[in-house]
């Protein structure tokens, strides 16, 4: 039966895939917790399995990313700017990439976290993952934002959530400074190359929170116009 229905005007919504994407990305970054648990125990076999799980989730997120891009032709009319959606997607994707990079590098070098730093590092990692969790929550409000036509109370609510995301990111900055200081105090006793990599790992973990914050601010920009 040929279709001559006008319903072709309804394009595929980009919001649901955006939510699916951040949920996967978040799940992927959460994989860092069991991964580091294995690293702390120096159980490299489990660590490798965890790394593979992270990598697999990252690939799934990539698939959603690609599909979403293909389904967003330029002649599309949305309540939010097309470019903003694409930018947001790019940022979200970076979280998963970062999680994969962190786990990949640790595993590749069989880099251990010095015992004196382990508690502090875990706290830091957890806080950074709180930021990605918050970014996930924010993006999952897109449904309700659409329901309310991107205005009114719901916008206020999302803005508050983004503010909370910002303050989590501030926390991680503070924790990062403390962690670096602790590393500095013990670095003389460690292998210099390992120390360099540790610094870069600390930085990368911090980027999880940075990028999460950027996800929030992209969304804020969307709401502004």
């Amino acid at each position: 039966m040929p279709m001559n229905s006008f319903l072709g005007v309804f394009a595929k919504s980009p919001l649901k895939p955006l939510e699916d994407h951040i949920n996967l990305v978040h799940q992927c970054s959460q994989g860092l917790l069991p991964f580091f648990e294995a690293v702390y125990a120096e159980d490299w076999k489990t660590a490798q399995e965890q790394q593979q799980a992270i990598s697999k989730l990252e690939k799934q997120a990539d698939v959603i990313k690609r599909e979403l891009r293909i389904n967003l032709p330029s002649g599309i009319f949305m309540p939010i700017q097309r470019q903003d959606v694409l930018d947001l997607l790019t940022q979200q994707d970076k979280i998963a990439n970062k999680a994969k990079d962190i786990s990949g590098r640790i595993l590749g070098r069989q880099l251990t976290i010095p015992e004196q730093l382990q508690v502090q590092f875990l706290e830091y990692l957890q806080r950074c993952l709180d930021a990605t969790e918050q970014a996930k929550q924010v993006i999952n409000e897109l449904d309700d934002l659409l329901e309310t036509g991107f205005k009114g109370r719901e916008v206020k609510l999302v803005e508050d959530m983004i503010e909370r995301l910002d303050s989590i990111e501030d926390d991680t900055d503070r924790l990062q400074i403390g962690l670096r200081r602790s590393l500095l105090s013990i670095e003389k006793n460690l292998n210099p190359v390992d120390v360099m990599f540790l610094y870069s790992i600390i930085e990368w973990v911090g980027e999880l929170a940075d990028i999460s914050e950027r996800v929030g601010s992209r969304l804020e920009l969307m709401l502004a116009n």
Partner: protein
């Protein structure tokens, strides 16, 4: 004159058959557009949609289809040019039906969303302007009709925008969206019921032989509105809502209330569609029948013969019953993020616009009006994504339809004339 007396019965049967097939096509194809939003937003199942469409398409066609039928029958053409050659008008109307029917079949085959209304109006203008003389066309009337094709989507878009914004203000952007939905949704139902019944009473019922004076008409419309609202309220209260739904999903319950409202607007949409589109199939038939029955005399004021409106209505329902299921099934899939609250705003705006146009006798395109309404909701940032490319194609196919319908009807006109001249 002789031709009409000799072949009169045959001409009526031919016109009736072609008109019935046309109505059948409208039922099979166009109804998908009218009901698609309801099915797409999952407010109705396909079966429910078909049942609603059958009842309300029939009611709309029968009760409110008269005005537009008169316009198609004798509003576009100045029949004084045919006083001495009434058979030409009969041939012309039959060719118009054939032309519009074939064009629609062809366009459906290619998947173009063309308008039945545009095809038939184009076809009638075509045979009259080229086959007879361009003076025989009521150009001022045609300008009015074509103008309405631009104005009605704009109006319906504007109404949809307002309805959507009002729902936002009253329900969504409040502390207690769910409670407010339960409180205000019956009012929307009442409004829909009021407009539909008022237009029907004031414009439609005279065609079925009922005359109701002004104040009684208003009273009846208000009464119907109240009945609809109370029934709606009752249904809403009976629905089981998920009490566990936390803040995160509170709009899900609100949408359930709107899904009930959408049943009402779906009825309105089917009614409006029936009232406007039945004329495309039976307007030309009505002209043929009136000429033949009057022995070749063309009278502008003749009453519609009683069996014509029901014939069109039955045709639409038959098309629906046979093919509607398949057509609606294909469109039901694939619409994402069209929640009942948006579908309702678009449907209510489109139905109101169409039914008012039907009341004033303007043959407008239901689909076009619906597209305008959807854009209106989109402008209010209510719909996740719209394909502007598809909208452009729709507009192009509408523009092409006028000359295509005209060209085909000219060809058929000369063919039929040739057959009878021999």
């Amino acid at each position: 004159m002789d031709i009409i007396q000799t072949y009169g019965f045959m001409l009526i049967v031919t016109a009736a058959a072609v008109g019935f097939i046309m109505a059948w096509g409208i039922g099979a194809n166009d109804v998908a557009n009218a009901m698609g939003t309801s099915v797409g937003s999952k407010a109705l199942t396909i079966k429910q949609a078909i049942i609603i469409a059958m009842i309300f398409e029939f009611a709309g066609a029968y009760l409110a289809g008269g005005e537009v039928t008169s316009t198609i029958r004798n509003g576009i053409i100045d029949s004084s040019y045919f006083t001495n050659t009434p058979e030409l008008l009969v041939y012309g109307m039959i060719s118009s039906l054939l032309a519009a029917g074939i064009w629609l079949a062809f366009a459906s085959y290619l998947g173009w969303p063309v308008s039945t209304t545009h095809s038939i109006v184009g076809a009638i203008i075509g045979f009259a302007a080229i086959g007879v003389t361009s003076d025989s066309v009521h150009w001022d009337e045609v300008t009015k009709i074509v103008g309405s094709w631009i104005v009605t989507p704009a109006i319906s878009g504007f109404i949809a925008y307002l309805i959507f914004q009002s729902a936002q203000k009253l329900i969504f952007d409040t502390d207690k969206p769910f409670e407010n939905a339960k409180r205000y949704v019956p009012f929307y139902m009442a409004a829909a019921g009021f407009v539909m019944s008022l237009v029907t009473i004031k414009k439609g019922l005279s065609h079925v032989g009922m005359n109701i004076n002004n104040s009684t008409g208003y009273l009846i419309a208000v009464a119907i509105a109240i009945v609809v609202a109370i029934a709606g309220r009752f249904v809403i209260n009976k629905i089981k809502f998920d009490p566990q739904a936390g803040r995160a999903t509170h709009f899900a319950n609100v949408e359930k209330v709107f899904a009930v409202l959408m049943i009402v607007t779906a009825c309105c949409m089917a009614f409006a569609h029936g009232s406007n589109d039945v004329a495309n199939a039976i307007g030309p038939l009505a002209a043929v029948v009136s000429i033949v029955n009057n022995g070749g005399e063309i009278s502008e004021k003749a009453q519609l013969v009683w069996w014509i409106l029901p014939l069109g209505a039955v045709g639409i329902v038959a098309g629906l019953a046979l093919f509607g299921h398949r057509v609606i099934a294909t469109i039901g899939k694939g619409i994402t993020h069209l929640t009942p609250s948006r579908g309702f705003a678009a449907e209510m705006a489109a139905a109101t616009t169409v039914v008012i146009a039907s009341g004033t006798g303007l043959p407008i395109s239901t689909t076009q009006t619906l597209v305008g309404a959807v854009l209106g909701v989109g402008m209010a940032r209510g719909i996740a994504a719209l394909n502007l490319g598809v909208i452009r194609n729709i507009v192009i196919s509408w523009v092409v339809t006028l000359p295509a319908g005209a060209g085909l009807s000219i060809i058929f006109f000369y063919m039929i004339k040739g057959i009878f001249a021999a």
